[in-house]
């Protein structure tokens, strides 16, 4: 028996995948930004984004800013917050003999920021919060306007990051520190400042990702970013941890694969998470540096 293939359903599900993929991409971008400048995986990336998401909500709902302005303002506040976290909490343990110390600090931050967000932003007995929508309901060319808008935001983020990293002196310094910290100091770059900027950028990108995530679905609470973080890590691994383009493509692949699994693979109902991860395992077996990760070519 041949099942009639419902193309419209397939298309809708793919677009749903793109919408959540954009959010995974944002978090993956944030993870990659920090990984590239510091060689660290920041496990608190999702919760930092969560905190920023609450700030977006406060600015939009309590202060009454237009939601677009609130998201941008929250990204700016996130930038400052990320830079401060690097300077105050990460830097002091970074020089230690064991790089795992920093990982433990980011795990601690994961718990601390989540608890702090609950303490500050959630009143006892409160229902899930509703983030104002950035994009109107309805469809354009059969695609949800929200999905189109999310994709636009992601493209905008990528263009801005590309211009910053490739076309400015600050970007050159950031890439220099990622490439060779000691030589960076020797040419007179303040490497500490660059690490702060790297964390700040990551937090700003995360703030946007979190705010978008909160617009999906019916409401959000302090658990918003927990699965997103896992998918974000998956996306970063798929793309190769040092590639920004890889993070974007990885996020979209993970989002779409997840949406298809939910729709089409009934046998995995409830454990749909398996499929994106099987995919990642497969890719990493064939290409250990991820889809876009560089194989380091170095002659001595």
């Amino acid at each position: 028996m041949i099942l009639a293939f419902d193309f419209n359903l397939f298309f809708d599900q793919t677009m749903n995948g793109v919408a959540s993929g954009v959010i995974f991409s944002s978090i993956a971008l944030a993870i990659v930004l920090i990984y590239r400048t510091t060689g660290l995986l920041n496990f608190a990336q999702g919760e930092m984004a969560l905190f920023s998401t609450f700030i977006t909500y406060k600015l939009a709902v309590d202060v009454g800013l237009p939601i677009a302005v609130a998201v941008v303002a929250s990204a700016v506040i996130g930038f400052v917050g990320g830079a401060v976290i690097e300077r105050v909490l990460i830097r002091p343990v970074e020089g230690a003999h064991n790089p795992l110390n920093v990982v433990i600090v980011t795990l601690g931050l994961f718990l601390a920021i989540n608890a702090l967000a609950a303490l500050i932003f959630i009143k006892p007995g409160q229902e899930a919060l509703r983030m104002p929508e950035l994009f109107p309901a309805g469809e354009v060319l059969g695609i949800q306007k929200e999905t189109v808008g999310f994709a636009f935001v992601l493209v905008l983020e990528c263009v801005l990051l590309f211009l910053l990293l490739q076309k400015t002196k600050l970007g050159l310094a950031l890439r220099g520190v990622a490439s060779n910290p000691e030589s960076s100091k020797l040419v007179g770059i303040n490497t500490g400042t660059m690490l702060m900027v790297g964390w700040g950028l990551a937090a700003a990108v995360g703030a946007v990702g979190g705010s978008l995530a909160a617009m999906q679905g019916s409401g959000f609470d302090t658990s918003l970013m927990q699965t997103v973080l896992v998918f974000g890590f998956a996306a970063a691994a798929l793309g190769g941890f040092d590639s920004l383009i890889g993070a974007v493509v990885g996020g979209l692949i993970v989002g779409i694969a997840n949406a298809w699994t939910v729709q089409y693979v009934d046998a995995l109902e409830g454990i749909e998470l398996v499929v994106p991860f099987a995919l990642i395992l497969l890719v990493l077996l064939i290409r250990p540096n991820g889809l876009f990760g560089r194989t380091i070519v170095e002659r001595v």
């Binding site: 310094a173 220099g176 070519v297």
Partner: protein, 236 residues
């Protein structure tokens, strides 16, 4: 006063002292060479100058300013460029980006012209300007490292064993370039080397370093001529 002056400098790594009261001077316009075997403290000496050793005793003066406790970054800004051992290439930046990052603290409009100038001195770099710097040969990377350091328009160039890992022919070429740069621009240099013959060839003053102490010093000609020094320390 000398452009660079180390007075009774001590220092090392953690509990291990490598430098035992070192005094070296580099004059404006001159090339100084520090010769020594592996483990003599050559690299450590340069790291002490650049603020890359944790604790440094004694004092380091550059242009009449005490830089003993200054940060690596501010020493670079003050005009000391350092080509570290292993050349310090930014391997995953392009050749051209390596040159631009050398000039990262310059605010003047002459950066592009300087890049072109180094391309004409080192045509191999021009051919590979868009290539990842890490994919170049050791000799090319050494040329790139020198050009990168000079992009900052320094007043003093420190070079850590430029001959390391290079074929004799390439080593000679590197030193010919260094000698020419010194003659043409008057840029002062401090080179630490194992290869005594070739390094003294471009030097005005030489120092022989042994286990963290200067055991012989003098102008380059005298040092080469001194049979005792030659036999004991220079190995020729």
């Amino acid at each position: 006063m000398s452009l660079l002056e180390l007075r009774e400098v001590t220092g090392g790594y953690g509990p291990i002292t490598v430098l035992h009261g070192l005094s070296i001077a580099v004059e404006e316009g001159e090339v100084g060479v520090v010769l020594g075997a592996n483990g003599a403290g050559k690299t450590t000496t340069l790291r002490a100058i650049c603020g890359m050793l944790g604790k440094v005793g004694g004092s380091v003066f550059f242009d009449d300013t005490d830089i003993t406790k200054a940060s690596t970054q501010s020493i670079a800004k003050a005009g000391i460029a350092h080509v570290p051992q292993g050349r310090g290439t930014f391997t995953d930046l392009t050749v051209e980006e390596n040159l631009r990052i050398g000039a990262i603290n310059r605010r003047d409009a002459g950066v592009a012209a300087d890049i072109d100038q180094w391309y004409s001195v080192f045509p191999r770099l021009a051919e590979r300007r868009k290539q990842m710097a890490g994919s170049m040969s050791g000799g090319e990377q050494q040329m790139l490292a020198i050009a990168r350091a000079l992009m900052s328009r320094p007043r003093l160039l420190l070079l850590d064993e430029p001959s390391l890992g290079l074929a004799p022919l390439i080593t000679r070429e590197v030193f010919e370039h260094l000698g020419a740069i010194n003659r043409e621009t008057g840029l002062a240099m401090l080179v630490v080397e194992q290869n005594a013959t070739i390094a003294l060839g471009i030097a005005h003053r030489g120092y022989v370093l042994e286990t963290g102490s200067i055991v012989a010093a003098g102008d380059a000609q005298t040092l080469v001529a001194d049979e005792g020094v030659r036999k004991a320390y220079l190995g020729f």
